[in-house]
Symmetry: C2
Amino acid sequence: MSSSPLLANLIEALRCLPGVGGKSAQRMAFHLLERDRERGLKLADALREAMQRIGHCGRCRNFSEEPLCTICAGSSRDRQLLCVVESPVDLAAIEQATGYRGQYFVLHGRLSPLDGLGPEELGLPQLAQRLGEGEVEELIIATNPTVEGEATAHYLAQLARAGGVRPTRLAHGVPLGGELEFVDRGTLAHAFGGRQLLE
Amino acid sequence: MSSSPLLANLIEALRCLPGVGGKSAQRMAFHLLERDRERGLKLADALREAMQRIGHCGRCRNFSEEPLCTICAGSSRDRQLLCVVESPVDLAAIEQATGYRGQYFVLHGRLSPLDGLGPEELGLPQLAQRLGEGEVEELIIATNPTVEGEATAHYLAQLARAGGVRPTRLAHGVPLGGELEFVDRGTLAHAFGGRQLLE
């Protein structure tokens, strides 16, 4: 139906973005063409650069275009704390929400033998080596509270103990601002069992 | 906070898309980097090509990378019907919703002297010339039913009559599937006044 094959092509290409369907893609394309061609071109450059040049940090496996990411390369972060996350999104969430000043290790997945994700794929030999170096004192395990995330946490805790490192896990419980009525049973049972003394 | 300046740059650039804030931009960037770099690169190419090469059709002023858009260049559309719309989005909506087989003229705006949009800016001399050629028999005025859109419609109707062309306007009324209770007063009054004989 389009009067322009390039426009149809752009609308189709925009649908690779998560949460963007045909209607939004069309709106985005028209918006850029009508009002913001310059920023559209900047976006094209940013996309190309990012897709081609961003690799992984050799130390923490997070996204980075340098051999070491800025967190690993910098000297300001506490090297005795190491936080393990499943994905870079989780790392970003922790950076934005907490005042954590330690370092990270990104698994890019969770143990899931059926999907072909074993210790090798998650970089666990590399993690074990780092734990064995003696610098890390606490391994903060921040995998997701799913079945596979918990299994991975269990495995990571064993790895930590083998390297003489204290493993800790993010606290589970009732979310702030939540209402007990709407909290799922598992979480409520966990929060109830893990109740703490008010001081 | 980002471990990668290129990633931060991409997230910022994605915010030029309408309806995309910081959180969605981050989700999009991570999604492309983790799962879909190839389509990310395709999007970069599609964006660059579209921003640089899409201009306007010399006849209908719609977006086109050729001197004439596919609708104007093709021979399959009825040249006696000409539909005037404010923007290419409106054209796309009509193409998708109706079985209209005539041609179009895109104003890229509406008469709005305060914004510096007069007849010249909307290409009305070009439209008047086309109406004077004698090929067009009906000018379907599909500007938006806003104050400025109505004023523009009025002007266009005069232009059509001056060229000996019959001007028509899209019907106003109660939307299909709407409930009278929730229809705004102006629309309801219009629909009531314009009631039609059931046959």
